[in-house]
């Protein structure tokens, strides 16, 4: 399979982000990792972790953004920051950043495994 780049890569990012967000609705918080894994296989170089991390971030960010349209996400963020023990002025930011970070980390870790698998298969094809 030829590696993705340009518009197809962007489309893959949006698709992966959407899938991650939709599967969160079903309680499957871990899907960002396999999504990153697939993006790692389908892309090359730095693009793989960037796309995978962004997909995880997007997937975890979309529900928050949608929720913010009709619910007090800001107050919830401050409360979550307080529960996590964050200091006063940073509570809301800490909650949002940590949430998005988890999505991004899952995507990044998945992409590392995907890239590793692709590289191993390339060696085997040549050898």
């Amino acid at each position: 399979v030829s590696p993705l780049r340009g518009w197809p890569a962007l489309a893959a990012l949006l698709a992966a982000g959407t899938i991650v967000a939709l599967t969160l609705l079903a309680g499957d918080w871990w899907v960002a990792a396999p999504a990153g894994f697939i993006l790692g296989i389908l892309t090359r170089g730095l693009l793989a972790p960037v796309l995978a991390g962004a997909a995880g971030l997007l997937g975890w960010g979309i529900p928050l953004a949608a929720m913010a349209m009709q619910a007090p996400v800001g107050r919830a963020a401050v409360a979550i920051g307080a529960i996590l023990g964050a200091p006063d002025p940073l509570r809301g930011a800490v909650a949002v950043v940590l949430t998005l970070l988890i999505g991004a980390l899952l995507g990044l870790a998945g992409s590392w495994a995907g890239v590793s698998l692709r590289r191993l298969s390339e060696v085997q094809e040549r050898g």
Partner: protein, 819 residues
């Protein structure tokens, strides 16, 4: 080949890292919750945001028989209108669980001794104590004994169904309250026994007393003579009981059996029991609630005015949840406790009622007689009887199961080890299945007779119930089980061999009571409710009644010239005048007038000279007074405590010591107590001058030379911690006025105890007002998490509306609950 191996190793490493990340994110580390599940934006803590949004306009509530309407007013207070009584309680259960499920679960876990299951090892000793005290055993018995025809049974069953409907809904939508997710557990279904448990928990907070144990420690260290003098049955200072008694002071003092110093092993048992009880009966330490009523001759509206502000531990969310309930059998508005299907304090169309804690002694300790020749047995009425042993398994988070055995005698649970055995007989150890029927009866009452009839079933905690009605009557009554013993001194542990057992209670007709008094005013602020002529022993000064300064201050305000209105009631609830300061200031100033003071001390004296006794946060005389008072109390009593090696801090028994010091300063300034053991003779004026000089030095060192900068609010703060002990979800500490003795009570530093609900009912206009610190919702993202706090802090009350008026508010939201 080498390259292949390297890349295979890289893949393996990547897979291991991914697996590890998934494991940490999804499973957590040790007892920490899983971060991905916690922060999952759809199912984690973030669900508090959509949960805080407005409710849908229609809701399906399984179990409802007919459509029920709930109108939430601008404060989030639900106004429930149901066509059937059981639907009313079903809806109430649903609403409690909707807004306070975590609080309800925490209450029942605390009462059942199952906190360690969610909090770990640190809560194990609390759980063991709770299992010993036996709230759950009592609640089970109460539920079993509640007759099938009892209105309370029907109410509790419907209420339980409502709570469980909401729990199921929360689980199905992954929207359990945030703290369940933070702590990583799910609530089990609500049971009727859980509602019974809450009554016991309230009794534990309000009426568990340690006085007899403290008395033993004082007898043993301070000596029986000094203990008897300093901790008498009747208060030595001026107080204002609201009820007159019968006759016979001799009967009152009958328990005054010469105290003997118990043997070492008994002392050890007392020390062991006291060490286990630091957190129970907290109300005794800060005990403070106000309630009063004036009749139509004193009010501007020509009908009674009633006010109540029960003082409890303040938390976010509050212990209270405000409601307005309407069904064929009930039309009542006031505050409920989440978990209980009743309005505890409020009004209906004809009467209003409030409560303060009586603090009468209802906790007795029994020293059980044991013998190595009779293992696992105790002697009672000449016969060796086996201890009843109940084994418990306590789940401890991250630690497995802990085992605990509770031993019980005829008197109650044993608080100590094998030998000696100290058992406790206390109010929540006696099943009181009639409590909810009593409260439901009050909710339905239409006059004094039906009100007091309902209270005949009340066992405890013994409360002073304030009453006012639309017919112009006011009243105060303190019904409940006041234990009467066959012999012995109930202010000390009694022998458990049978001769000093409880043989009855004060008859209902003789409990403290007043109705339509000739002076047209009734006040209860935890002061001893009866005068010296009352014929029964109901407790002494140690660890029981309030010193009476709040009651005196409130009475002085109510008896001032002029007719009273709602604004006056509001003003008195916020009153920060310290009557102790008002009484003692002339003596202090007189003593200082003849003392050699430094210029700084003289400036402080002049500041006090022009002071009105108000403990306002911005007041520098208030800072000087309180620092002086602490120093005065310490300078008089600490030397005795040190010399006699008293094993409990004098601050733990400072209520009677405050009464003593006031009485001696005013009427007995040469009392030998002023002379420290082994020191040169001293009198009250000398001790006051020394304490004043020390206080000025302390304030100068702390706040500088400028007396105007010594503000009471810099020394004294108020805080309202979050129930979940999350610092960022609480309030404060902020500078605060008031102290433990002012009507707007704020004892402790920081003060976390105070007016938990302020209510005023004006029968002239038929209106009522209330406010509590916090808000209706426990969801920190909700508009109603602490939206009442600002008004509470500034002393504004909010109208307690009936449903029709609430529905006309612009911010009202009406929800139809359908079967």
């Amino acid at each position: 080949m080498e390259r292949r191996i390297t890349r295979a190793a890289a893949l393996l490493l990547a897979l291991v890292v991914v697996a590890g990340l998934l494991w940490v994110c999804g499973g957590g580390v040790r007892s920490l919750p899983a971060p991905a599940r916690l922060l999952d934006p759809v199912n984690g803590l973030w669900t508090m945001a959509p949960e805080a949004a407005s409710p849908p306009q229609t809701l399906h509530l399984p179990g409802l028989r007919a459509q029920t309407t709930v109108t939430f007013d601008g404060s989030g207070v639900p106004h429930v209108q149901a066509a059937r009584d059981d639907d009313l309680f079903l809806a109430l259960g649903y609403l409690h669980a909707r807004d306070r499920l975590f609080e309800m679960d925490l209450f029942r876990r605390q009462a059942e001794g199952r906190l360690a299951e969610i909090l770990g090892l640190e809560a194990l000793s609390t759980d063991e104590l709770q299992l010993d005290l036996g709230l759950v055993r009592t609640a089970q018995t109460e539920w079993a004994r509640l007759p099938g025809t009892s209105p309370a049974r029907a109410a509790v069953l419907a209420y339980t169904a409502g709570v469980n409907a909401r729990i199921r809904e929360d689980e199905a939508t992954n929207r359990l309250p945030a703290m369940f997710k933070a702590l990583g557990y799910q609530p089990w279904p609500w049971a009727p026994v859980d509602s019974m448990l809450l009554r016991g928990l309230l009794a534990e907070d309000l009426a568990y007393q340690k006085g007899p144990l403290q008395a033993v420690r004082l007898d043993q260290s301070l000596g029986t003579a000094l203990t008897a003098q300093w901790f008498p049955t009747l208060p030595p200072n001026e107080q204002h009981p609201y009820a007159s008694g019968g006759s016979g002071r001799a009967a009152l003092e009958a328990p005054a059996v010469a105290a003997s110093t118990p043997a070492d092993d008994a002392q050890h048992a007392v020390a062991t029991a006291l060490a286990r009880l630091p957190s129970v009966g907290r109300h005794q330490l800060f005990g403070a609630s106000n309630s009063w009523a004036v009749d139509g001759t004193r009010s501007a509206g020509g009908k009674p005015l009633m006010a109540n502000d029960p003082h409890l531990s303040l938390t976010l969310p509050s212990i209270w949840y405000q409601v307005d309930l309407e069904s064929p059998g009930y039309r009542v508005s006031g505050v409920t406790i989440p978990g209980a299907p009743v309005v505890e304090i409020g009004r209906n169309r004809h009467i209003s009622w409030g409560a303060t804690d009586t603090q009468a002694q209802a906790t007795l300790y029994y020293q059980e007689k044991t013998d190595p020749d009779h293992p696992d047995q105790y002697l009672w009425q000449g016969e060796w009887r086996p201890f009843i042993k109940i084994p418990y398994e306590i789940p401890v988070r991250g630690q497995g199961i802990a085992r605990h055995v509770t031993r019980i005698t005829v008197h109650g649970p044993v608080l100590t080890g094998e030998s000696p055995s100290l058992a406790v007989d206390w109010v929540a150890d006696s099943p009181a299945p009639g409590s909810y029927d009593a409260l439901l009866g009050m909710m339905r009452a239409s006059g004094w007779t039906s009100f007091t009839d309902a209270l005949r079933a009340w066992v405890g905690p013994i409360q002073n119930w304030t009453y006012a009605d639309d017919q112009g009557n006011i009243g105060l009554i303190a019904p409940g089980t006041y234990p009467v013993v066959a012999g012995g001194d109930p202010s000390r542990p009694l022998p458990g061999t049978g001769e000093d057992d409880v043989v009855g209670s004060i008859p209902f007709g003789q409990v403290p009571m007043a109705f339509d008094p000739p002076d047209h005013v009734l006040v209860s602020a935890n002061q001893r409710p009866v005068g010296p002529d009352y014929p029964f022993f109901i407790g002494g000064t140690l660890d029981t009644f309030d010193p009476g300064y709040r009651a005196s201050e409130i009475l002085s305000q109510l008896q001032a010239p002029g007719r009273l209105g709602v604004a006056d009631m509001e003003r008195i609830q916020l009153d920060t005048r310290d009557q102790l300061a008002v009484r003692l200031l002339p003596s202090l100033l007189k003593a200082l007038g003849s003392a050699g003071l430094s210029p700084q001390q003289d400036r402080a004296r002049r500041a006090l000279a022009g002071w009105d006794g108000r403990m306002d946060a911005s007041s520098s005389p208030a800072a000087i007074w309180e620092t002086f008072w602490d120093a005065y109390l310490k300078s008089v009593f600490q030397p005795w405590w040190s010399a006699r090696h008293v094993p409990l801090p004098y601050q733990e028994v400072n209520v009677p010591l405050t009464e003593d010091l006031e009485a001696w300063t005013l009427h007995d300034p040469t009392n030998p107590a002023f002379t420290p053991p082994g020191a040169a003779a001293r009198t009250a004026p000398g001790a006051m001058v020394a304490a004043f000089q020390s206080a000025v030095g302390e304030l100068q060192a702390r706040s500088g030379d400028d007396i105007a900068g010594w503000r009471w609010g810099d020394l004294h703060h108020r805080a309202i911690p979050s129930l979940a002990q999350v610092a960022g979800l609480g309030y404060g500490p902020v500078p605060s006025g008031g102290d433990a003795l002012t009507p707007d009570a704020a004892g402790g530093e920081p003060s976390v105890h105070g007016p938990s609900w302020r209510m005023v009912v004006d029968w002239g206009s038929g209106t009522a007002y209330g406010i509590y610190p916090g808000g209706q919702s426990e969801d920190p993202a909700s508009d109603h998490y602490r939206d009442q706090l600002g008004d509470w802090l500034s002393g504004r009350l909010r109208p307690m509306l009936w449903a029709g008026d609430a529905a006309r508010q612009p911010a009202a939201v009406t929800v139809r609950l359908g079967p």
